[in-house]
């Protein structure tokens, strides 16, 4: 397995494959299907200071090769996440990346301070980009100065490295990434969902009770690839890439674009075994393409000139 091992700030990953936040709960359901220790890491569901019920239902709608969600950050709140979920997860040999969210900077700081002390939390992921949270959330993710300020504040209190999750709903993702890097982030995760909507033909009403929601799944993959390609060339902190990954080939495309690890969201719903399957298939793919180690693929689309690998077909 060492040919898949990747070292990132705070994270010694046995493999660079992890479920994305919000698509895996706190792991309990998938633990019934396979051993979670097979995963490189787990990004747990966004945690807020207080418990949240989230948005009214319907909360999901299907789109061509994608889905919209407007869960609204439902979670049991900081205390319960630490006491019940993180301690339960401690039985597995897998580092946890704690996704945190809030409505104010103080919320983030408070959650970051507390949750970063849990022994199995190896990194934080600041969800500054959730398009479903109406107060504040949007601004955090789309104004570089605000995102930078938040990053600085969280860095001051966090006991573990801090990754910031970028929203794709911006004109200039590179500017955003650079501001966050300059503010001291240890890494980036990208992309979160694109703001979208569907309307019911029969009722003329939006399908989601929240009206708009976040678009995820294969449909957004080319946008994620483009953004990671641009950002990875502009910053020197590592990127955990996500957005529509469903196969080992998809994952490889993200490594080529410049991601150092990948996260899988929506695809878990389609194939609950998708994460361990990709972990198993990546070495096969490396063999086929003549790579010894996954690290040779990282950023290969821009840090090598011309076609680099021949694989006779």
């Amino acid at each position: 397995m060492s040919r898949l091992a990747v070292e990132l700030p705070g994270l010694s990953l046995k493999n660079p494959v992890m479920p994305a936040s919000g698509c895996f709960g706190f792991g309990r359901e998938y633990a019934k299907l396979y051993d979670l220790s097979q995963l490189g890491a787990i990004m747990i569901k966004a945690t807020t200071r207080e418990p949240r019920f989230g948005n009214p239902t319907p909360r999901v709608a299907e789109t061509p090769s994608g889905m919209l969600n407007a869960i609204g950050l439902q979670n049991p709140g900081l205390e319960k996440v630490i006491e019940e979920e993180l301690s339960w997860l401690a039985q597995y040999d897998v580092p946890i990346i704690a996704n945190i969210a809030g409505s104010t900077m103080e919320d983030y700081v408070e959650v970051a301070k507390r949750i970063s002390q849990a022994p199995n939390v190896h990194a934080l992921e600041l969800n500054i980009s959730c398009p479903n949270v109406k107060k504040g959330g949007i601004a955090f993710g789309t104004v570089p100065e605000v995102a930078a300020e938040l990053t600085r504040l969280v860095k001051q209190v966090s006991a573990v490295p801090v990754y910031v999750k970028l929203s794709p709903n911006v004109t200039n993702i590179v500017e955003m990434a650079k501001a966050i890097e300059a503010a001291g982030a240890d890494g980036l995760t990208m992309i979160n969902t694109l703001l979208g909507m569907r309307i019911d033909i029969k009722t003329a009403e939006p399908i989601l009770a929240n009206r708009t929601g976040g678009l995820s799944g294969p449909a957004i993959k080319p946008i994620a690839i483009r953004m990671i390609y641009e950002v990875s060339q502009a910053v020197s902190i590592p990127i955990i890439g996500m957005g529509g990954i469903a196969t080992a080939e998809d994952a490889l495309e993200f490594f080529y674009a410049g991601a150092s690890a990948v996260a899988i969201g929506t695809a878990n719903f389609v194939d609950p075994f998708v994460c361990p399957t990709i972990v198993a298939e990546l070495p096969v793919l490396l063999d086929e393409l003549g790579f010894d180690h996954i690290s040779q693929c990282i950023g290969r689309s821009w840090n090598k000139g011309g076609p680099t690998v021949y694989c006779g077909t």
């Binding site: 698509c23 909360r59 090769s65 869960i71 719903f269 194939d271």
Partner: protein
């Protein structure tokens, strides 16, 4: 709960836009409760993307076969309806918690109320109740005569009443009109169907033991994504997940 490629043993329309699908596979050995469902992948690639939740209508462990009855509705079920005998389908299941059999004793009376495409899970339930010695009365509501299915099957298990919204068959009106009109008595009521029907039943029988099967749009189907939650009465943040806590709930347990 497993993922299995199940083989289509039988697949034919049995009413207008209503299809009966029989699937064979070892997964059937894990299926026990009426009211549980399977999450079915209908497309080869990424459109349609999500699985479709469909209830178990009949579990035949000896033959290792289960029956699903579904309505051709949107894109996914339209694709499903084109699959032929012999093809395989990717099935995740069995999921959720079904109707509690233990709520009723041998010799007691159970009323089964189904609306439209909520009827299928009641068939397996009726079978299991009858086997237990419970007397079953079924009231099934449909829009029109041409979408009625499984009348004979239910009739073979007990008394049956049918209502159609347009009066083209049976009682004109809703299932609640039948119950009201006939003054049917029962010990436990089990229901599956559209939300307005479930709400009407909830109001009509505030003091009865009533179990309702809910529908909600789903992502994962296994409890991980929080797409399908419903509220718990008198609590701001408490919730239940239709997919993994339900789809069957005792009346009052969740807010309809």
């Amino acid at each position: 709960m497993k993922v299995e490629k199940m083989t289509i043993v039988y697949h034919e329309p049995i009413a207008r836009n209503i299809y009966q699908l029989i699937l064979g596979g070892t997964l059937v050995q894990e299926m026990n409760e009426a009211g549980q469902f399977v999450h079915v992948k209908v497309g080869e690639r990424t459109d349609p993307l999500l699985r479709r939740p469909l209830s178990l209508c009949d579990i035949n462990k000896e033959a290792s076969e289960c029956t699903i009855i579904y309505r051709k509705e949107g894109a996914g079920t339209a694709l499903l309806s084109e699959k032929k005998k012999g093809e395989v389908i990717d099935v995740l299941g069995p999921l959720g918690n079904g109707f509690p059999l233990e709520a009723v004793q041998a010799g007691q009376r159970a009323l089964l109320v189904g609306g439209g495409i909520g009827v299928p899970p009641l068939y397996e339930l009726a079978k299991q109740l009858v086997k237990k010695g419970v007397t079953v009365t079924s009231i099934l509501g449909f829009q029109t005569q041409d979408v009625i299915f499984y009348e004979r099957e239910f009739a073979s298990l007990g008394e049956i009443y049918i209502a159609t919204a347009d009066g083209s068959y049976g009682t004109k009106g809703f299932v609640t009109d039948v119950i009201g009109g006939r003054g049917l008595s029962f010990d436990v009521l089990y229901a599956c169907g559209p939300k307005p029907m479930l709400k009407a039943l909830e109001q009509k029988f505030p003091d009865k033991e009533v179990y309702l099967s809910l529908e909600e749009r789903m992502g994962c189907g296994i409890g991980a994504c929080f797409a399908c939650v419903c509220r718990v009465p008198n609590n701001e943040t408490a919730y239940k997940k239709v997919c993994s806590d339900g789809p069957v709930f005792k009346v009052g347990e969740v807010v309809l």
